[in-house]
C-alpha cells in the first residue's frame, strides 16, 4: 500500500474531504464501537461478514433504537459514512438498549463529535442515552477524548488492513454476540 507512511488519521480526513467515491479509508460509528468492544468483530464488519439477524439482541437493539425519542431526533447522514442522530436541542445522541457496554458506545459518540468537528466544522455536545434504564449521560469532546478517538482510528487502520482477523478471545459478553456461533464453531 502506498499510503503506508501516512498517518491513518490524516488519511481518514483526506478520504472524508475528498470528492472521489473510492477514496481509501473510512471509519463508521459502528467500527469505532466494535474496536472498543471486540477487534475481531471489527474485522468481520470491515469484510461485510454479515451478522445473524435473527439474534434476539440484534432484534432488541434495533427496536430500541427505532422507537426511542422518535419525535425529538433526526438522523444526519454525512458523506454516506457516518450517521449520527441529533436531538431537537442540537446535541448528538447515541441510543443503546443497555449500559452494559458503555465504553464502546461512548467512543462511538465521541467519534461522531470528532468527525463533526474535524470534517464538517461544527462543534457539538453529545448525550449517551439508555432509554430502557431511564439513564442519560453528557459526553463532550475534550483533549483527552480527541486523543482517544485518534488513537482508535490508528488502531482500526491496523486491524482492517490485515488479511486475517485477530483470533477469538473469550469475553464476558461473547454469549450475547450475534457472531458467537460464527466465532466459536470450529
Amino acid at each position: 500500500m502506498a499510503e503506508r507512511d501516512i498517518d491513518p488519521v490524516e488519511l481518514l480526513l483526506e478520504s472524508a474531504r475528498s470528492e472521489a467515491a473510492n477514496a481509501s479509508f473510512h471509519v463508521t460509528g459502528v467500527m469505532m464501537q466494535y474496536y472498543e468492544a471486540c477487534e475481531r468483530e471489527l474485522w468481520f464488519e470491515s469484510r461485510n461478514i454479515e451478522i445473524n439477524r435473527e439474534n434476539p439482541n440484534v432484534v432488541r437493539g434495533t427496536r430500541v433504537d427505532d422507537t426511542a425519542y422518535g419525535d425529538q431526533r433526526q438522523n444526519l447522514s454525512i458523506d454516506g459514512w457516518i450517521a449520527p442522530d441529533m436531538l431537537d436541542d442540537g446535541r448528538i445522541v447515541e441510543v443503546k438498549p443497555s449500559s452494559s457496554l458503555i465504553e464502546p458506545a461512548r467512543l462511538q459518540l465521541l467519534y461522531y463529535l470528532w468527525y463533526l468537528d474535524r470534517v464538517v466544522g461544527v462543534k457539538k455536545d453529545g448525550v449517551l442515552a439508555h432509554p430502557t434504564e431511564r439513564k442519560r449521560e453528557s459526553v463532550e469532546l475534550n483533549e483527552e477524548a480527541i486523543d482517544k478517538v485518534e488513537s482508535a482510528i490508528r488502531g482500526i487502520y491496523e486491524i482492517v488492513r490485515n488479511d486475517s482477523p485477530p483470533s477469538a478471545t473469550e469475553k464476558s459478553y461473547c454469549d450475547s454476540c450475534a457472531y458467537h456461533d460464527f466465532c466459536w464453531s470450529c
Binding site: R47, N48, I49, D181
Partner: protein, 330 residues
Amino acid sequence: MNDNYHIFSDGRIERHNDTVRLVTEDDDKKYLPIENAEALYLHGQIDFNTRLVSFLNEHGIAMHVFGWNDYYSGSIMPERGQTSGQTVVNQVQAYNDATHRIKIAREIVAGSIHNMRSNVTYYNNRGHEFSSIITDLDRCQDELADTTAVDEVMGVEASARRAYYQIFDKVLPNGFVFNGRAYNPPDNKVNSLISFGNSLVYANIVSAIRATALDPTISYLHEPGERRYSLALDLADLFKPLLTDRVIFRLVNRRQLSVDDFESELNSCLLTESGRKTFSKELEQTLEETVEHPELNKKVSYQYLLRVESYKLKKHLLTGEPYEAFKRWW
C-alpha cells in the same frame, strides 16, 4: 425459526392476510404459522402466485419444490438480505488453488467416513459383526491422506460408501433387500428411501448455505455443476449417515414403514404418498433433536448443525482459520 412444512396434497398455496394458507382440491383450508418457518417443501401439484413469493421473501422463507417421483426440482429462495462479494471471491480462490481445494475436499470426506463409521460401530455393538467393515473404513481414512487429486478423494469416498452400504442388508429385515446403491430411478425399496431422504437433506442444506452468503454452486469435493447446488452436495455427504440412514433404519426396523408403502412400476420402486409423509415426519423430528455442542457451549438441534457447518466453511474461507468437518462426537 426452524420449522419446515411439507405439503403433500394437491391444491393452491396463497398469502392470506398475514399468513400462508393452503387450499386443497376439495376446498379444505389450512393455515401455516409461518413466523417460525424455515422452509416450505412442496411435494404435490401446487399453484401459487407472485404475491406469495414476495410474502415468503419478506419473511426470509425458502420454498423447495419436488417434482415427479419426488425428485428435487428447485428452490425459490428469498432474495439474499446480505450478499457478500468478498465471500464469493474467497470461495473461488480456494477452488482455484489446487492445494487448498483438495484440503477441503479431503476434510469433507474424512468427516463423511467418520460419520459412516459411527453408524457401523453402533450396530456392531448391537449384535452385528461389522468389524471387517470398520477395518475397511479405517483403511479408507488412511488412504485419504495419500490422495493427490480430487478425483482420487472422490474414489476413496466411493469405496468407503460401498463398504458402508453393506450394513444395510444386515441391519434391515427381510423384504428390504438393498444390494448396492442404484438411482435414476431407484430400483428397490431401500434405494428409494435413500434417494428420498438424501434429497430432503440436500434441500435443508441449500437453505443453510443461503443463510450465510456462500455461493451454493462453488464446491470443493464435487465439481461445480451447471444446474446443481454442488456445495450442498459436498456438505450433504457429511450429514447423510446421521439423518437419512438413521431415519431409514429406525422406520423400517420399527415397522413404521412396510412393503405397502412402496409402489413398483417398470424398473423403479418408489415411496407412496403416505410413505413419504411418514418419512418426512420422522426426518423433521430428527432435525429437531438436540445435542450439547462442546465448542458453542449450548444445546443445538441437528438442523442447526447444518447452519453451523456453513458458518465453519465460510469462516475458514474468509479468515484462513482451519476448517474441521462435522464429525459426530456423541
